[in-house]
């Protein structure tokens, strides 16, 4: 058919902006302050099941016990357990736009057990291996925004 009259469907497109203010609570609040001022990462140990909770919270999600005061420094070194890198632009929900990810993303396990998801300094995927040891590279001037106060993790040596 030469002349097909296409039915017109009407749609409305908008970008909705939703602001939020996330209360961190006293435990994560302390963590954020320590990260900003002292470039230190802390977890809290559950008095009952002894799991090291990170990020720290008022209660242990595993055994439902209220935490006391058993803060422990986690350090800022760990091992790459998983990693990936976006090949196509990824939607950024903070800007509403698609953007290329500059760096690979990794799941890093601190030596004491908890995980953190963060960027890797090394941009070339071919150079990455599971099991590599990495260390946090901190912002010079902390902003009190927790994980954002670490810029990325740098490879320090390969763990065999």
């Amino acid at each position: 058919m030469a002349d097909e009259q296409k039915e017109e469907f009407i749609s409305v497109e908008i970008l909705s902006k939703i602001s939020y203010n996330w209360s961190m609570g006293p435990y994560s609040g302390s963590l954020f302050t320590e990260m900003k001022e002292n470039k230190k990462i802390w977890g809290i140990r559950c008095p009952k099941c002894k799991k090291l909770l990170f990020p720290p919270e008022a209660m242990c999600g595993y055994c439902f016990t209220e935490v006391k005061d058993d803060w422990e420094e986690i350090g800022d070194e760990g091992t790459i357990v998983q990693f990936t890198k976006a090949g196509m632009p990824i939607f950024d929900n903070r800007t509403g736009k698609f953007a290329f990810s500059e760096r690979p993303l990794a799941n890093i396990q601190f030596d004491k057990g908890p995980y953190i998801m963060h960027w890797l300094e090394e941009k070339d995927i071919e150079k990455l291996r599971l099991g590599m040891r990495v260390k946090a590279v901190w912002r010079e001037q902390g902003r009190g925004r927790g994980y954002e106060d670490i810029m990325y993790f740098r490879i320090i040596e390969e763990k065999k």
């Binding site: 990936t84 090949g87 196509m88 990824i90 950024d92 929900n93 903070r94 998801m117 925004r145």
Partner: protein, 384 residues
């Protein structure tokens, strides 16, 4: 003692990347009418309507009130459930519980999503705590990372993901209600798809669809009156994990394994491959399907890739998994987990049409998967 519960009607809308010719209520209405026609009952017989989707994923909220003109819920009882990817099955489970309680005889439950509308990855990442939002690359990020670890720990290769996609596509091409029906010929076709998030390709993931699914659930006395082929709900299970432990893959015990152990123990299932005839599992990524083979104890740990390689999970074979094409072919998230139950019910009835599995199906297992890896399971049977 709980009352027996059966699924007496199944309805599906067609699914596509965009459905501009219908608004939400109209799209849901398609599935509702199909379910009513399947059960051969009038909307007046329905006592309660559950409207289920993930708020925000398609920037749509309050479906239970805004969608009444399409759901048939006008002046009826009912509610909305909102969880994560499990919401379609959670909505079905809630309907089962309502009927089992004896307080309702016929309940209509609907799963829907219109993903042309919003950005579900953006909203999914928004589920992460504020301070984590910069670092989360959605579910795709989690799946890609898990795959890197899986390939290192086992003999799995990118080709195995291609085999899962090929099976899904072949099955989807036999299902008129599937969204992606690509007609792939070999795993080389999958290998040509661009890298979405290294090392995973676009075709290693599910699409974003617009669609709806509806189930009509009835008590035993009503079910036996209205249909010759009631599909009995034998059991269901839901298990959550901690948000802070979002690590797909790896060796730690997962919610899928806990849920499977519980439901198998309660129902005397000691050998799932022998005791269950067909599986409809929630696999947003072809890699997840391989893990689910392991998590549901269809094969040993770290051997899921061998299972897809063997072909034993094809429609004609002994352990058919996702004969409908699964989530890889169709994913209007709110509907998806309910479709796993709907498709399983059709298999038991022998009504799945071209994608009916070859073997006789008396027992099925349907799974749902949500956000930070929580699990629902529903066990259906032809007779209790």
């Amino acid at each position: 003692m709980a009352n027996r519960v059966a699924i007496v009607g199944v309805g599906r809308s067609t699914q596509a990347a965009r459905r501009p010719e219908v608004n939400d209520a109209e799209m849901i209405n398609e599935a509702v009418r199909a379910a009513l026609a399947d059960a051969q009952i009038d909307i007046n017989k329905v006592q309660a309507v559950l409207t289920n989707s993930i708020d925000g994923f398609d920037n749509f909220y309050l479906g239970d009130c805004l969608l009444v003109d399409g759901t048939g819920g006008y002046m009826k009882s009912g509610m909305k459930l909102h969880t994560g990817g499990t919401v379609g099955s959670t909505g079905a489970i809630a309907a089962f519980n309502m009927v089992a309680s004896g307080m309702f005889d016929i309940v209509l439950t609907i799963g829907h999503q219109k993903q042309e509308r919003g950005n579900s990855m953006g909203t999914l990442c928004a589920a992460a705590p504020g301070e984590m939002r910069e670092f989360v690359q959605g579910a795709i990020g989690a799946f890609a990372q898990a795959a890197v670890q899986y390939m290192k720990n086992t003999g799995a290769k990118l080709e195995h993901a291609g085999m899962v996609r090929l099976k899904a596509d072949k099955n989807a091409c036999r299902n008129p209600y599937a969204h992606l029906r690509l007609g792939l010929k070999s795993i080389d076709d999958v290998a040509k798809s661009p890298i979405l998030i290294w090392p995973l390709r676009l075709l290693d993931f599910c699409p974003q669809s617009c669609g709806a699914c509806a189930l009509i659930v009835a008590s035993e006395k009503v079910a036996k009156k209205i249909t010759k082929k009631p599909v009995w709900v034998a059991d269901h299970e839901t298990v959550h994990e901690l948000q802070s432990e979002v690590v797909f893959g790896g060796d730690e015990e997962k919610s899928q394994q806990i849920a499977a152990k519980r439901i198998y123990k309660r129902n005397g299932i000691t050998n799932p491959v022998r005791d269950i005839d067909c599986f409809e599992v929630y696999e947003p990524s072809s890699w997840e399907e391989m893990y689910l083979y392991e998590h549901f104890f269809l094969c040993e740990h770290n051997k899921g890739w061998k299972m897809i390689e063997s072909g034993v999970t094809e429609i004609e074979r002994e352990v058919p998994v996702n004969p409908s094409g699964g989530v890889l072919a169709t994913n209007a998230i709110g509907a998806t987990a309910m479709l796993r139950i709907a498709e399983a019910a059709l298999q038991i009835r022998g009504d799945a049409g071209e994608h009916q599995v070859t073997k006789d199906v008396k027992t099925t297992l349907s799974s749902g998967l949500g956000g930070t890896n929580w699990t629902t399971l529903v066990l259906l049977k032809r007779s209790l």
